[in-house]
């Protein structure tokens, strides 16, 4: 693997406000040109990371690197990063043009270049022709577009976005998500996006850091994090989910709700206590005779593109199911799922241990598959 110089790196960065540890020894590495998301509930420390990158806050401990150089003591105005603030923070005493031209003017660009830059940036955020508008005349969505244009007009290496869409309505948010993603791809710069909305994070990001309690709980691609959450918090925070306690009897066999199930996880101690995750969309309704589990339908909500069904099994575990067809409340039905749908989480497993374990048995599987293929080949060869 070719090691590319990371654009940003945190090494054991910690920060406290009084007695509150906001960040506890954070390590993270960001590569150039990717769309990163810091995802977590409020108070998880995600905005703090952003402020440490921008220079609004100073770390108590640890080092922050920008293109390999320590930047802990570099003041905010000298850092090649710009921020899009949550409440836009546009200068109310200036019109749209002057807001966007704020950075270029400080750089002493020629008036002609400034004109061109502002025009280009407003074009990028689809606000061409809005130059002379006052900020107070703009809608929330337009103000956010100006804020994005203003930050990008400084040609940052890294653009920081602090929950920029949280104040907008659903439709506008969707639209701007798409646009931000397009802008990022077009400019090819690094975006660090902070949000508490898991759907937004999954839709936009190349890479997600899930934050909780001042720690990065897990980082990975949206698929990794959704399909293989490391712990209860991540599984619960990323989407609707069913989590039940279980026992991993041995590799590829798990016991929960009184039954044994085949699965695809391995690398744990025999009979280890674990948590079992089943996503609602992986559960299918069938007749009770064919079900791996038998449940009673308790409640049903129509969500437009699917039905959200709540069911209870005989041990009083609640199961969330997403189905395309409606069910009958009170009916007993079977639930089926495939061995791959079962995801196992160990208690207190670190991210490094989790990754190592996944890799070890995935390698084994790959080898086994390779061996099987070879056997297959030699067999067919023998026949031929």
């Amino acid at each position: 693997m070719v090691e590319k110089m990371p654009i940003l790196e945190f090494s054991k960065v910690a920060l406290s406000f009084g007695d509150t540890e906001v960040l506890k020894e954070i390590d993270l590495v960001l590569e150039s040109g990717k769309f990163y998301t810091l995802l977590g509930p409020s108070g998880s420390g995600k905005s703090t990371i952003l402020k440490l990158i921008s220079g609004q806050l100073q770390a108590d401990a640890g080092k922050i690197f920008f293109e390999g150089q320590v930047i802990n003591d570099v003041p905010a105005e000298k850092r090649r990063v710009n921020t899009v603030f949550q409440n836009y923070s546009l200068f109310p005493n200036m019109n749209v043009f002057d807001n966007v031209a704020f950075g270029p003017r400080l750089k002493k660009m020629s008036e002609k270049d400034i004109q061109d830059k502002v025009k280009e940036m407003l074009g990028l955020v689809k606000l061409s022709g809005f130059e002379r508008r006052e900020i107070s005349e703009l809608s929330g969505g337009q103000q956010q577009r100006v804020a994005i244009a203003r930050a990008l007009a400084n040609d940052p290496e890294v653009l920081l976005l602090d929950e920029p869409l949280s104040a907008l309505d659903y439709k506008l948010r969707k639209e701007l998500q798409q646009e931000l993603r397009n802008i990022q791809k077009r400019l090819g710069i690094t975006f660090v996006f902070v949000t508490h909305d898991q759907e937004e994070a999954l839709a936009m990001s190349d890479w997600i850091f899930v934050m909780h309690d001042g720690l990065i709980q897990q980082n990975g691609t949206p698929e990794d994090i959704y399909d293989e959450p490391i712990n209860h918090f991540v599984a619960d925070f990323i989407g609707e989910t069913n989590i039940v306690p279980g026992i991993m009897k041995h590799d590829y066999l798990v016991h929960f709700v009184g039954k044994d199930f085949e699965n695809v996880d391995a690398g744990m101690r025999p009979n280890e206590r674990v948590e079992v995750v089943l996503r609602p969309e992986d559960l299918d309704l069938t007749d009770p005779a064919n079900g791996k589990l038998v449940v009673t339908i308790q409640d049903q909500l129509f969500r437009g593109d699917y039905y959200e069904i709540t069911a209870v099994d005989d041990d009083m575990n609640t199961w969330q199911v997403q189905a395309t067809n409606p069910a009958t409340v009170g009916a007993r039905v079977g639930l089926t799922f495939d061995p791959e749908d079962i995801h196992i989480m160990r208690y207190n497993e670190s991210e490094a241990a989790f990754d190592a374990r996944l890799e070890s048995y995935e390698d084994e599987e790959a080898e086994a598959a390779l061996q099987a293929a070879k056997d297959d080949q030699s067999q067919s060869g023998g026949q031929g």
Binding site: Q56, E77, T83, S89, F102, R150
Partner: protein
């Protein structure tokens, strides 16, 4: 909180307005009318414009008017120069309300007392001169000079300049400063391009609060300025209390009020109600 306060306020609005209207009528509108009527009369209570004619043709009164405006202008500039950095510094402090209270505290003390305190400090045997003597320098004439007048007047008016500027600065979203820094502005550029323009309403309010009263100062001109500085305020006092020429005193009063209204109009906040 703002909402409940608003609701509560609405309940009392009509009662308030009644009382306030009466108050305005009795203590603002009527006296002003009396002043106007008085200024348009001669000694025998006949209508005349002679008082105004006398004022505008008299070199000494016009000089006095100029003096009033000039000194009020100087006092305003001096207070602004000291008040803005002070107010800015106050907003950065942790217990800013406490420190603001200390700044406002002197306004609770009677003006005459403060003035006499300065006589004690600046007089021939005062603290300043005795210190000068003690370190081997010659005592100086401090009291009854233009400088002492400006010093004391500026000292008295300073809190009225600090308070509105402090409020305007406190209202500025701190994230705007962060945004300015983020976009590459240093502290000075941030102050110049963001903080100062956004604090203009407070500066204008401060100018009104200092310039207008400074036009008609008379106690300080007499006690500290030793009547060397003669302003319209001094003249009004003379006409009402010494020469008993109420008509002419009223005329000067009306002219001062007009000057104040002009100041108000010039420093009015011209922003349309578009600010959020």
């Amino acid at each position: 909180m703002a909402l409940s306060f608003k609701k509560q306020k609405q309940g009392f609005t009509s009662a308030y307005m009644g009382i306030y209207g009466l108050w305005l009528l009795a203590f603002v509108v009527l006296p002003l009318l009396l002043l106007l009527v008085e200024s348009l009369q001669d000694q025998n209570h006949h209508f005349t414009l002679a008082n105004y004619q006398a004022f505008f043709t008299s070199g000494s009164y016009l000089a006095m008017t100029f003096n009033s405006i000039w000194y009020a202008f100087l006092i305003t500039v001096i207070t602004l120069v000291f008040a803005y950095p002070t107010a800015y510094f106050l907003t950065t402090l942790k217990n800013k309300q406490f420190w603001l209270l200390l700044v406002i505290l002197p306004t609770w003390i009677n003006l005459l007392l403060k003035t006499y305190a300065f006589i004690g400090l600046l007089g021939q045997g005062g603290l300043v001169n005795s210190t000068l003597t003690a370190v081997g320098l010659h005592p100086m004439q401090l009291l009854f000079t233009d400088w002492s007048f400006l010093l004391v007047a500026a000292y008295v008016e300073l809190p009225f300049m600090i308070l509105p500027i402090f409020n305007a600065l406190s209202d500025i979203d701190p994230l705007l400063t962060a945004a300015s820094r983020d976009l590459g502005a240093n502290s000075w550029q941030t102050l110049k391009k963001v903080i100062w323009p956004l604090s203009m309403p407070g500066v204008k309010a401060g100018i009104q609060a200092v310039f207008i009263p400074s036009l008609s100062l008379f106690m300080i001109t007499r006690l500290i300025g030793g009547n060397r500085v003669i302003t319209l305020g001094t003249a009004i006092e003379e006409h009402f209390l010494v020469t008993q020429n109420w008509a002419f005193g009223s005329t000067i009063g009306v002219i001062l009020i007009v000057a104040m209204v002009i100041t108000m109009l010039l420093t009015q906040d011209k922003q349309k109600g578009g600010r959020s």
